[in-house]
């Protein structure tokens, strides 16, 4: 999918708003000793809706903006979120998964990948403190919270981008059903009948 100007503008809006809300509000609302992290969920949603190119670029941008705003080491979040967005986009392009629960599973996987990737990079950059159980508990709690939030965040992002998406996954599938399926396999089955 080639991103249009309208889609790029909407993606910028979603990214900036998401990071501001995350840093100003969500990160100050501890739930069970941990915080929700919207960044991997936003990137996952964009990857699933727009594909690997837009997902990867959006992940890079969101990560860079989050690092700048949080005064963290530049490049860490952008590198990890780039992988998350690209992975979610490739999943859509290669498998085109359908089903209501897909964003939940992909959201959990995205959060886990982000947490593990971020931790690995921190160790590569030379954090010399041992990992505590408290840290692992917090990562696990964030994973659970993000899994619960994945579906609403996906729905919200889809609502924001819907008007600018050239081929919404639901519309595309509906079209496929009404025309008897698009794949050669399904067409072949129709002929055999």
């Amino acid at each position: 999918m080639t991103p249009t100007a309208a889609l790029i503008a909407r993606l910028c809006g979603v990214g900036v708003l998401g990071v501001v809300v995350q840093t100003a509000a969500i990160s100050q609302l501890p739930i069970a000793g941990a915080n929700a992290d919207l960044s991997p969920l936003l990137v996952m949603a964009v990857g699933l809706l727009c594909g690997s190119l837009a997902g990867g670029s959006f992940g890079f941008g969101v990560g860079l903006f989050a690092d700048v705003v949080s005064l963290q080491t530049l490049g860490v979040s952008s590198l990890v979120l780039l992988g998350v967005g690209y992975g979610a986009g490739r999943l859509r392009e290669a498998r085109d998964p359908e089903g209501t629960l897909v964003p939940i599973a992909v959201g959990a996987a995205a959060t886990l990948a982000f947490g593990v990737g971020f931790a690995l990079l921190q160790f590569l950059l030379g954090v010399d403190a041992p990992v505590s159980w408290a840290l692992l508990r917090q990562l696990l709690a964030t994973l659970v919270i993000n899994t619960l939030l994945a579906l609403p965040v996906y729905a919200l992002v889809r609502r924001c981008l819907q008007a600018a998406l050239p081929d919404d996954p639901r519309r595309r599938r509906r079209r496929a059903y009404t025309t008897g399926g698009l794949s050669p396999l399904s067409r072949g089955m129709e002929i055999r009948r």
């Binding site: 100003a24 990160s27 490049g75 590198l79 780039l82 950059l125 505590s132």
Partner: protein, 288 residues
């Protein structure tokens, strides 16, 4: 057409990965006053009013969450607090006798008020941002260089030492908490004021600090108070942390009596619920 799409996708991916790695390398290579740090500070400066507004607007929701959490935690603390109440009652009786002694002794000892903080240029600030990741124990306060805040200034809350200012903008300052893995605070503990260095026991645990480099035969016991020492680790210059700021209380001692003994302490300040803090903009008192 398909090949072209795949090639373009891979090219963009490679370009973005390269950009990330270049940023990472450049950021590590430059000093705190470099271009990338400057961009970060500038962007934060622009977003600080937005964050402050959102922080104020969401205060009721945070309080609601806090109320639920506090209620659950309070139930678990009731028994502990009852025991502490009984212990404190007996201590009060003892302290009344000691207080009378103290009044007499205080007239004999010339106290210059070194522990008083009235002349340390206290600036009270609201916490407007907490680090979203557990790897960085930092908060941002709505007081900056316009209020006289500089890098290195100590930060306290109503309970104890909280951290140190590590980045300053016009209207805000970034505070690295004492639970951050980069922090080391010269401290002393026990009745004889044994010296050591306080640092986090592990990443991501705000309730466990460790005091290292104490003498093997240091007289330190569980329950002892740990306070700032007032000198840098190298002992060559005076620290910006004034002498005697409370840090925490000793909870247990590992490898006791050996060269590698580690004294664990729990900080007095609750780092996860910081709302207002005070910055000591004149930590050395009159000699600013």
């Amino acid at each position: 057409m398909y090949d072209k799409t795949v090639r373009r996708r891979r090219a963009v991916l490679g370009l973005l990965v390269a950009c990330s790695l270049i940023l990472l390398t450049a950021y590590f290579g430059e000093t705190g006053g470099g271009a990338l740090h400057g961009v970060q500070r500038g962007t934060s400066e622009i977003l600080n009013p937005v964050q402050e507004g959102a922080s104020r607007a969401l205060k009721p929701i945070r309080d609601l969450f806090g109320w639920f959490g506090d209620t659950v935690a309070a139930k678990g603390q009731v028994e502990d607090l009852r025991k502490e109440r009984d212990r404190l009652r007996s201590e009060v009786a003892t302290n009344e006798v000691r207080e009378a002694d103290y009044d007499r002794l205080s007239k004999m000892v010339e106290l210059d008020g070194a522990l008083g903080l009235e002349d340390k240029g206290l600036k009270t600030g609201r916490v407007i941002f907490s680090s979203p990741t557990v790897w960085y124990a930092t908060v941002r306060v709505d007081k900056g260089s316009d209020d006289g805040v500089r890098k290195g200034h100590p930060v306290i809350n109503e309970e104890a030492l909280v951290g140190r200012v590590t980045e300053v903008m016009g209207g805000a300052a970034q505070v690295t908490l004492i639970t951050d893995t980069t922090m080391k605070v010269p401290a002393r503990a026990g009745p004889r004021g044994e010296f050591g260095i306080v640092e986090p026991a592990s990443a991501g645990n705000p309730n466990d600090l460790i005091m290292k480099f104490t003498r093997p035969n240091a007289r330190i016991a569980e329950g002892d108070r740990v306070v700032t020492r007032g000198t840098e680790p190298a002992d060559t210059k005076q620290s910006l942390f004034p002498v005697g700021l409370p840090i925490g209380r000793v909870t247990r001692i590992e490898n006791e009596g050996t060269d590698t003994q580690e004294i664990h302490l729990r900080p007095y300040a609750d780092m996860r619920s910081l709302d207002f803090v005070q910055i000591l903009t004149n930590p050395r008192g009159g000699e600013q």
